[in-house]
Symmetry: C2
Subunit: 327 residues, 2 copies
């Protein structure tokens, strides 16, 4: 009897302690860089609904899948994709030793020249060597407008979303048209997303041996392109489950959002709208990169996808603005 009583007391104390811990973590605003409004509210209400065991919209941990585009959704993509800047820079370095190579700059990025960049800068080395090359470039390269490393030009509000989703036991995947190995080189330190959660366009690799040691050689043949229709195809290939929340910013994300919308339970689709010419860029329909077409806006409105106004919804865009505010 006495033992039974003690056990009950211990259990009661445990419940009190545990519930006070979870209360404490509920108190702070998980999305401080987001202005109050319908978009922020839609994210928080969605996460609360799918994680609340008593809610009819509750989703078990294993099915809490979030997919997020990279260029223009997690970091800057103007005036050129960062991977494009990397390839141009690497090509120009290598070209010093190959006098016959044609001159390629950001002004003559034809399809043929982009293929030439891919072959010369992103194949013919091992996967591990490529990772080192990308990391070294990211360490020294600076964006000319912001005078900062590209890995600092990530969107603070989206970093908060990733952290918030992780804290609520979501599997958060990057699903991008960008190169998978390029993104893997920085996704963990920049976003807290591990290589197994980075889905992108890929080329074939070939297993072989160098001095008796196994290695994977990056080949110049594409395996698949994870953009447009390729996004839901890649989501099925890598994850095998439908996302319940998806973030994008351009026409290339349309099918990923449609796929998310087709999941049977509660789901949420959001699009970052680049409408801030002062702190970032305002481009949408006008840009070749990250086009947000009128037809995408129409589909968003018809389906109640949330359109995130950078100008209105984001108090802060880059992490360094927070540091400046604190300085």
């Amino acid at each position: 009897m006495r033992n039974g009583f003690l056990v009950k007391i211990v259990i009661a104390i445990l419940i009190l302690v545990i519930s006070s811990f979870s209360y404490a973590s509920d108190v702070g605003d998980p999305l401080p860089s987001w202005r109050e409004g319908p978009v922020k509210r839609s994210i928080m209400e969605f996460v609360q609904a799918v994680t609340d065991q008593s809610s009819r919209d509750f989703v078990p941990r294993d099915n809490r899948i979030a997919t997020i585009d990279n260029d223009g959704t997690l970091w800057l993509e103007q005036p050129l994709y960062t991977q494009g800047i990397f390839m141009l820079s690497r090509y120009q370095t290598l070209a010093k030793q190959h006098k016959k190579w044609p001159k390629i700059t950001e002004n003559n990025l034809t399809k043929q020249n982009i293929e030439r960049l891919l072959v010369t800068t992103s194949s013919g080395m091992t996967v591990a060597e490529y990772e080192t090359i990308v990391k070294e470039w990211l360490n020294q390269a600076r964006n000319p407008r912001y005078k900062r490393p590209y890995t600092e030009l990530v969107y603070q509000p989206m970093l908060e979303v990733i952290k918030y989703l992780h804290e609520n036991d979501f599997d958060v995947y990057i699903v991008s048209g960008g190169g998978q190995e390029f993104m893997r080189a920085f996704a963990l330190p920049a976003y807290g997303i591990t290589p197994d959660h980075v889905i992108g366009s890929t080329e074939k690799t070939r297993y072989g041996y160098l001095g008796g040691k196994p290695m994977l050689l990056k080949m110049p043949q594409p395996l698949f392109v994870s953009d447009n229709e390729g996004k839901p195809e890649a989501i099925n290939l890598f994850i095998g489950k439908k996302p319940i929340i998806a973030f994008g910013n351009s026409d290339g994300d349309r099918q990923m959002l449609e796929w998310t919308q087709s999941s049977p339970g509660k789901h949420l689709m959001l699009l970052v709208h680049h409408d801030d010419p002062v702190r970032e860029y305002a481009y949408d329909t006008k840009s070749k990169i990250g086009t947000f077409s009128a037809s995408l806006m129409k589909e968003a409105e018809a389906n109640n996808w949330q359109v995130i106004s950078m100008k209105e919804d984001w108090r802060v865009i880059f992490p360094f603005e927070m540091n400046q505010a604190n300085e």
Copy 2:
């Protein structure tokens, strides 16, 4: 003061309760179907070393990657791969309505006929429809020797390994030459492995719309084959990290074990050797399916890969033997 004292008591009780829980789970043998011996010891010592924070071999959770072959390693593969039996059965059912189709049986599985099976039984429907077809077949099909569903012909000792690795915060992936979507249809109930951890050979899919709803159509074109060199290539594509433990049973697993061995820290490679003609099959070098060649055995011995003798190391092979023992 009084509050501080109470908090200390609560913490002390918490520590006692929590440590008694973890002690309790340490007490039982996590691998009861394995006979004591060098192979069982190698698995348990490995897991203890990489999960012990004070060990020089400690590996953080994010890098605890295990890759396990399916056919012949997690379940029966004789006298024919289960997926082969499924395709034959499905083909013969469909052929009743297609009088011009050539007769295909397990005796004329030429390359051309296998391709015909793949195209007719595993493409031309949506991914969701295929999953339903496979599940329905698995529900009604019975293995003629054991008179049981194929999903019960899994290896009990390997189920214990998966559970043991999961409990020790490993990411456990299936890496198989078998079809990814075929395995996804049963991996969760049979092994406790979710679709995002099932890597196999894949065909292309195509995103489209049916009555305005998005769908993914299974196409008859292969995307890649996850066997031999394809295993480390697929591991890089899907996981982007090297495994530290890998289980296989045949020549098709050689490169996966080499790749695991090339990881910088502690690692463990194991091969199931089918040498039990009474309870299962004894085949190795003699079989076209799951060949364990003399050269693989030589490589295993030279590199200290553990060879698991089904006959000697496994007290029980199938889960139903445990039920029989308890009956």
